[in-house]
């Protein structure tokens, strides 16, 4: 039964956080930082066959001001790092980063003087994708991981008191767990 029929002229109540996160996670705009061969798979990920429009991320934004998800696809040289970091700095918060492929994650097979051994040396990476190159499904999986991360994050509540989380507002059954396996007593708020 459609929602409007079951509710009639009623209304729904929800948390602002939930609505904002729902909207945010389903409208991620990727900044395609295609640096090498992996960028070809990134194009397939956005193209009709794999159709990332199902997840609301089909709008690749070539301007960092309009993007909130950077997909670094390919190996990054030391010279390029300065440009990548500059683009990252120009992206508006909140923003996320995917290291796509073995090279972006670890340097991959390019163990040499010119290539950075993992872009996490200068960028805060949220999701790493293994593979050389990863299949578009793997990139979609990474995107879904980012969506999950957004949905389990605080968006509005974190502004409640200068970045401090309000007491007793931890999500029930949160997906966010510490490496030990238990829910954190205090969420880490992005500085």
């Amino acid at each position: 039964m459609p929602l409007e029929q079951s509710l009639g002229e009623g209304f729904l109540t929800t948390r602002v956080d939930a609505v904002v996160n729902w909207a945010r996670s389903n409208s991620l705009m990727p900044m395609p930082m295609g640096l090498a061969c992996c960028a070809i798979e990134m194009m397939a990920f956005a193209a009709p066959k794999y159709d990332v429009a199902r997840f609301g991320s089909e709008a690749m934004r070539f301007s960092p001001r309009q993007a909130d998800l950077m997909i670094v696809a390919g190996w990054c040289s030391y010279k390029m790092a300065h440009a990548v970091r500059r683009i990252w700095d120009q992206m508006a918060d909140p923003k996320w980063c995917i290291a796509m492929g073995a090279c972006a994650s670890t340097g991959g097979m390019h163990r040499c003087y010119g290539v950075i051994q993992g872009i996490d040396n200068f960028l805060p990476v949220d999701v790493y994708i293994p593979g050389c190159p990863p299949r578009p499904e793997a990139v979609i999986h990474a995107l879904m991981d980012i969506q999950e991360k957004i949905r389990n994050d605080y968006s509005v509540a974190q502004d409640y008191q200068s970045g401090q989380l309000p007491e007793g507002r931890l999500p029930q059954g949160s997906h966010v767990v510490t490496p030990a396996g238990d829910a954190p007593s205090k969420l880490v708020v992005h500085p």
Binding site: K79, C112, Y113, I116
Partner: protein, 218 residues
């Protein structure tokens, strides 16, 4: 394949000297140009090597421009396909520069070589004779440190401009010199950082790429 009704690629016949060598091509065999060079330039042609039907001519470094111009004007070698440096890692005449020339009219390919010393590796530029030499020479300078005299824009091609080494030289470590290439700052306008590899060697960023920085007035 003989079943093809036409030859869209000209069939290359093996040369006369090495009929059994499958790699021998008639296009790389140009005795006319080589003998003309020997006649015209005498001692400046130091050595002619013929291997697998290919002619490679080692010439005097100081006369390379003259020789290239002569070949371009008289033998149709109007196209410089490639140029690069070789580190021979020898005591004498350590660096070598090769020039691959193509004559489109006569369908010939010829390779010239010059050698230079390690202390002051200088070779006259060919960028005025062949404009394609411009970027090739910049690459050879970047990677090998061979200076091309008279090149009007000899900047590095691949590495950052303030990089201090020439990474394709044989003594350069494959993994690089720790700390020679700084990573970007963690926030805009901040201090440059180092990767863990360099940091483990005690390197600190010594340079800044910020335009406004006052350490950057060199």
């Amino acid at each position: 394949m003989s079943s093809l009704p036409f030859d869209f690629t000209p069939v290359d016949t093996p040369g006369p000297q090495t009929p059994d060598n499958p790699h021998a091509k008639a296009t790389t065999n140009c005795p006319d140009a080589v003998s003309a060079l020997q006649e015209q330039f005498g001692d400046a042609v130091r050595e002619v090597v013929e291997y697998a039907n290919e002619h490679t001519v080692l010439v005097e470094r100081d006369r390379i421009v003259e020789i290239a111009e002569y070949l371009k004007a008289n033998h149709g070698f109007t196209y410089l396909v490639d140029l690069g440096g070789i580190d021979r890692f020898t005591e004498e005449e350590r660096f070598e520069v090769f020039y691959n020339l193509v004559s489109i009219t006569t369908r010939k390919r010829l390779r010239l070589k010059v050698r230079t010393e390690e202390e002051d590796p200088v070779v006259p530029t060919l960028s005025r004779t062949y404009r394609s030499a411009n970027w090739y020479e910049r690459e050879a300078w970047d990677m090998m440190g061979i200076r091309f005299e008279g090149h009007e824009d000899l900047r590095r091609m691949f590495m950052p401009e303030d990089f201090e080494y020439h990474p394709q030289r044989k003594e350069f470590p494959l993994l690089g010199i720790p700390g020679s290439l700084p990573l970007p700052a963690q926030r805009p306008g901040g201090e440059l950082t180092m990767d863990p590899f360099a940091a483990a060697h005690g390197s600190k960023p010594i340079k800044s790429y910020e335009e406004t920085s006052d350490t950057d007035d060199a």
